[in-house]
Symmetry: C2
Subunit: 486 residues, 2 copies
């Protein structure tokens, strides 16, 4: 059954939540008195629609329905999740919760996007404190997986588990903070860095651009994949964390930070920083910077996905759950078998504006992998010493497609006998044929690296597919060569 | 002429510098009284050799010569650059400089890897302060591009320029810090985050693993590509940096950080953190973590390279400088033209341990791009509305190769006439043929997306290549199809 989320307060954060829920198949009901709310959320949704669907290697479900509501009570009616992202004023938030709780289901979860307030402060005076939690996301909410889920003793275990499951359902990672503190975890670091950065700019040590370069050419790249402690553990070498701490401990007594002190937030300081930021980034509009950022994030998170690490490991865990492709027992084997359903990610396109040629082969290779698994050549089988190597590939490009396109690959087996496996993939966007990939593979012994017979189970599976697909006939374009010029 | 660097003090940082210089073609002379120095530097070099060469899309020069020396004076003799990475004690560093300056060239540059000391403190009492600068790198030095180059009024402009050029020559980015401060720039942020993290662990708010997740699933990924200020500029939306600061300014008065205060660095705190770190990362040895980290960094930096942004834009700028492939005027056109020379990067291999099939096409596509450029279809031409689309591809896999392999692709034109371009790439590792890629391309009008004749210049260039390569004959394997099973 379709689930419903209410978004209270639009803007960049509320819009990001709306996009997460919608693109995960939830219906979304928005309440925001700002007359610009629909336009603002629409802009965030545009960004999310171009970047999120291709992030994973499987297609997302169909989008839910988006609606805008004039009253708070109308917006929260029937909602399973209510996400509050109103400005950072406690009195305002408490007023919103009173209105929400007067109209919402008693078992709905009310999550707050607050950066700073503790959940106990948000629950204070509430009729049903048990349903209020902090769920603090990070911009862009539609791409970054982190949600700080902060709870109190008033939240029962069942509510917390339900909140965690819903956060995972929309592709995010619930980091459960069990002991509340102002600003939770991540924003304490951001605040510390922000204060130090203000000093550095104010004192003329570095410009905003130099500070950004000091971050992104050094520790920023490290922190995208390992955090502070794991990075230092590695730096400590074989002697480990104790050794590192013995080395780094004394620096705590040195004048390496101004953070004992806070700079005056004067107009002069604001001007200095705003002017430096214009000089650094003013060549791009905010819209352009958002798209550059999203392209970068998608490309890097997909790179981590290839390594099955950090945010990429989260994506892989979701992908396994949602692939939804038929196995040998579920598939209609009399037809070509669906072996890939996904959106074209941002980093698969090239300077011609369309999906680039090597990514067709990447998609076909994923389809071949999937087909191998259907036949029984899975991770365990490969670990036992057998696999398939591609010997020959023939790709025909029939039509173009672009980032975001939902593509499907269907696979016909032309030959599956002994060590030989000959498959023919057809890639479609809807009913439009985009490309075909014909591949000849040999089963190999991973020890000798030479061709070898597959297991009896794989032989049997191939025989079953061959019999079922016998009526399909020879596909158009298979067995073709690039013609020799006359 | 081969240049020479002296590495004073090995270990992780000194070893990283040694690797940077060596793999950039410099001779490297090491002085380190540690009897384990040769082994330790060897381990860093192993890591560097497997990760750095494939990072860029062009091959690095041949490695320089590495030698170990028993005396400081022998190690620095004839050196153009002397990098000091001894422990963080000022008296020790000053003693080292005295010894170095007694034996080194007066115009050699002495760079210090110090994390904390100002260059004026390092120059204090020196006979030739002008040749001493801070060049503070980040671990792993062989992958991360950042070097904080900190100078004083004692350093003349020519020395600073020379230092910047050498840093760029070894593939790094000199961030020139003109006003010295303890801990320079980046380590002030790291120190601030470290202090805050110690509090969070000590107070039981979060474990080391939760803190690492709070970083790498959220702002860490952002900071790998934009820094603090550009990220906040985007978050501020169209209203820009002033708007963001007006919103965030008040938080400076809130209790969002403990950094006014420093936790006691007790044995209990060290144990707490070391134990949590073991629970978090103890399943991997440091060596495994280093390789996981390097795989991640290479994959993400290459992802940013594809977006031409941040650390990836730095790589592209280096790539253009060093590609060294012949143009139409330099090439021996009677032979297949070299169109790619590179090392196989870490992220091009798959679960079978060898280069994965789609990356063969990525390499061939780079070769096709290069060949198009040789013919005159370059960025300007594409911007004017013409380009080539691949219609058909045929790849034959002959032999395997692995990460780090130096590969070369050579390209024969089978047909270049009107809108048609038919090329045949052969990929070699040394004398070993790995694969062939045959591609049929059509020149297109990027407006109509339909085939169209190329410019007269491209026609002329194709005619020139056709005439020169006429004697080459039809290559083995071209025009083949995957055979239809009998």
């Amino acid at each position: 059954m379709t689930k419903t989320a209410s978004i209270i307060g639009g803007g960049v954060i509320g819009g990001g939540w709306a996009a997460r829920f919608l693109l995960s198949g939830w219906d979304v009901r928005v309440f925001d008195p700002d007359p610009e709310a629909e336009r603002k959320i629409g802009e965030v949704l545009d960004n999310a629609r171009r970047s999120l669907p291709g992030l994973s290697d499987v297609a997302l479900p169909d989008e839910g329905r988006l609606s805008f509501h004039d009253t708070l009570s109308d917006a929260v009616a029937g909602a399973d999740w209510i996400q509050e992202s109103v400005p950072e004023r406690l009195d305002l938030k408490l007023r919103v919760y009173a209105g929400v709780q007067a109209a919402c289901a008693a078992d709905a979860i009310i999550g707050s996007s607050t950066s700073g307030f503790k959940p106990s402060a948000l629950q204070d005076g509430s009729a049903r404190p048990a349903q209020i939690v902090v769920t603090h996301p990070f911009n862009p909410v539609y791409l970054l997986p982190l949600v700080e889920l902060v709870t109190t003793a008033a939240n029962d275990a069942a509510t917390i588990t339900r909140a965690q499951n819903i956060i995972r359902d929309i592709g995010m990672h619930p980091l459960h903070v069990k002991k509340e503190i102002d600003a939770h975890i991540a924003d304490r670091f951001l605040e510390a860095v922000w204060r130090e950065a203000l000093w550095l700019v104010r004192d003329g040590i570095a410009t905003t651009e130099e500070i950004d370069d000091a971050i992104r050419f050094g520790f920023g790249i490290r922190w995208a994949q390992m955090g502070l402690f794991e990075t230092y553990r590695v730096a400590g070498g074989e002697a480990g964390m104790r050794h590192f701490m013995a080395q780094f401990g004394p620096a705590l007594k040195w004048p390496w930070t101004k953070l004992m002190d806070v700079p005056d937030f004067t107009d002069e300081l604001v001007d200095l920083i705003a002017d430096q930021s214009d000089a650094q980034s003013g060549a791009y509009s905010i819209r352009e910077l958002e798209r550059i950022r999203d392209n970068n994030l998608v490309a890097m998170m997909r790179a981590l996905k290839g390594q099955d690490w950090g945010a990429g490991a989260l994506l892989n865990a979701q992908g396994h759950r949602k692939a939804g492709l038929p196995g040998l027992d579920q598939a209609d084997l009399s037809q070509p078998v669906p072996t890939l359903r996904r959106a074209v990610p941002l980093d698969w396109t090239d300077y011609n504006g369309h999906m680039t040629e090597s990514k067709y082969l990447e998609a076909f290779a994923l389809s071949t992998d999937r087909f191998m698994r259907v036949l029984g050549c899975d991770d365990d089988y490969i670990a036992s010493g057998g696999s398939y190597f591609t010997a020959e590939t023939h790709i025909r490009h029939i039509d173009e497609c672009h980032a975001g396109a939902r593509i499907e690959v269907r696979t016909q087996m032309l030959l599956g006998q002994g060590k030989k496996l000959h498959v023919f993939h057809s890639m479609y966007e809807g009913g439009r044929l985009l490309a075909t990939g014909e591949h000849f593979l040999l089963h190999v012994d991973l020890e000798t690296r030479r061709p070898s017979p597959p297991s009896a189970e794989i032989e049997a599976a191939m025989a079953r597919v061959a019999e079922a697909q016998a009526g399909l006939g020879w596909p158009e374009g298979a067995g073709n060569a690039i013609r020799r010029p006359a």
